[in-house]
Amino acid sequence: MSLRWKLWGIVLSLAAALYLLVPTFFHLPEQRQTFVEQEKPVPWYFDLFPSKGLNLGLDLRGGVYIEMEVLVEEGIKAKLDNLAQDIQRDLEKQGTPMLQWSLGENFDRIEFKFAPETDIASAFQTISRATPGLLTKEGPATDGKIAFRVVEGDIAQWKLDILNQAVQSVRNRIDAYGLTEPTVQKQGNRRLIVELPGVKDTERALEIIKKGGKLEFKIVNEALSPTALGDIIAKTREENNLPIRYSFDDLKRLNELMAPSLPEGTEATFELGRDEMGKVIRAQPFLLDKTVYVTGDMLDDAQLQREGRTNKPYVALTFNKTGGKNFGDVTTKHVKDRLAILLDGFVMSDPVIQEPIRNGRATITLTITQSLEQTLAEAKDLTFVLQEGALPARLQEVTKTVIGPSLGADSIQKSLWSLIWATLAVVVFMLIYYRLSGVLANLALLANGLFIFAILAMFQATLTLPGMAGIVLTIGMAVDANVLIFERIREELRSGQTLQNALNAGYGNAVRAIMDSNLTTIIAGIILYQFGTGPIKGFAVTLMIGLVCNLFTAVIMTRVVFEYFIFGKRIERLSI
């Protein structure tokens, strides 16, 4: 390739790098955002440049990084329970009611138990019709029990579906919450990672993400009075040394231990009242029938509305056809009973069913224990979660890093200054030690920095705080490459070689060593990338990009400039 082409190649690549960095230098994305928010038209020249600038990591911008485990098994259990409930309803209508069902340990089989006189054969027919291909009969019916095996491939598929659904749900929620550039990713087959850069109200954002959103309608069982139930609960807690806590897991455990003391087919739960800090100050026990009549996925719509006179917020629900029918059925059968409306296992309200409701609508009123503002915010979040749909399974926090924006800004400032001082020190040294060739090396260094940032911006790779450290390190190693070449050239010149030969020998010998050494650090970078998460990955990426740019600027770029002066301008001596 002729010298001219090479020179043009370098000029063009520099221009390209500058072009890619325009959005970062002029803060174009932020300005665009402001225009959009204020509903002003975006100036035409904005579209000439790339739309995104440098992608700053959480430790530089502030924000949340959270890794959550999707409790897939719970999701499968829920799916199977729903299936069994549908079957139960069908069987009841048919006149062959099922008493109860139980699930196998790995959720791979279901056993249905019937009263001795029921017509098992027709029950079996109904079940098979309801779930073609999903359940296969396991063995003959024995004492009124039929066992079914769930097709294995289906379970694996369900697990995958649940994970994908969870990812999608979380994405939807975050999108509607209106955050800039959030990311939600799968990790492995059970986890998801959420990154929310620049989020201001961390707690609320996390609440929205984690909120199960499982809406259920059950009937209150009046068999035990609240005081009697309260006593049983207190006794169970005391006997088993359970702390007074009200998480979903605690409730589950409590029910498991109380099961023998409660009437068959019932379970206990609470209606919780919280203070402004979110701490539970009141817990009223409820005894409910286990049967779920209506669930959140039978909703067509949920709207936040205000009551006319008091302006209290409430959520207006509209059911779909199945939901409407089920709701109509339960309200018809249980007139004068209390309907328990549950969210994520806890009672939200328990209105008395005055009359059958066949229009497929219901309302949830919220008790105001906190300020009106807070209740309103809660109502908004609830409506939103109901609209988006419940999470297919619970999310459990595994790792969380929250970085406040002040720390982020602080980190950027400090690391930028280090970068500037380090570059300055190197520049001065190169000038003194290598004179004009030092100038060339410095230009290569600056071009290196430009290329690194441009490539980061182009691939939208995240620049993290360790990444900045990586760049500072790359500066040191860039010097190494130049030094190797220049020292070699000096040696050759010292031993009497001509300018051209010295250049060729210098580059020829040095490049071999440079390649070897840079490649080894790149290998370290690749391994770091594979094994690392979050900021470490950022470090690895920045390091590798830095080293590759190093190779380009130190080896190719400087050589072209030397050749230009030696062959083009035909200089006599090399200032090195």
Partner: protein, 307 residues
Amino acid sequence: MKFIDKTPRIPFMKHRFLFLVVSLLLMGGSLFSVATRGLNFGTDFLGGVKLQYRFPTGAAEGEVHALLEKMGMPGVSVIRFGDASENRLAIKISHPKEAIESYGKTITPELQKAFGAETLLEMEETVGAKVGEELKRKGILAVLFSLFCMLVYVGFRFDFHFAPGAMAALFHDVIVVLGVFSFFGIEFDLTILAACLTIVGYSLNDTIIIFDRVREHAKLVTPATVEEVVNTSVNETLSRTMITSLTTLAVVVILFCFGGATLRDFSLAMILGIVFGTYSTIFISCTAYIGMVQISPKLEKRFGKQS
């Protein structure tokens, strides 16, 4: 300007056994420290909660510790973070009893009540214990795997006499850094692990430059002449070694001074790595190579040449 006008003739290799002993002592000391004192693992590896606060006025570690004890959390550590003027303290709870999500929410208001409403929670990190274990495992695997890759690479590009020296130098560097961190009780978290891996790359970088020069003189290498050849190679590359080490060192020292508290431990690890990396290249890798070249004919004689 030149530091070194003519190729110097410093007799590095003559004293190589002395320095080998020094290195062995250093490594031994480091291993001992790691085995007995152990490493001060951060929340990344142990799991737990780390809360970093910025206080509006001076807050002493003791006060915060007492407050936390009153709240029923005695086993926590409170460490100053950054300069004294920054008023930053980090609270570390390594074996949390309850759900780790709630610690920030319960502690922050109490601190605000005691030290002023502007007490700011700058950073909150919660890591489940299982994840910590996983990271530890992955971290160790990463280091071992990279050492292995380097070995393969060196064996590939150079002949096998070079490989043990390169490996030994890398082990030495990483172990000494771990030793220093263990001895001074400096927190060892993921960023430090990343530093270690970078040091591995950098140290090998350095070693390869010198080995490359020796390789150039390969025809001259015999068990009798190897010490001389290696010494000459080291001297020939001395100006390059000094310049690179000094500039990279200067750069990391700048990072140490100006990079802020978050990068301080990382820069420290890098400084140690660069210093020992350069040292190990000359006094461990080269020593080992000389040893290999001198022993290898004796081994051949003992075990006979495989036909």
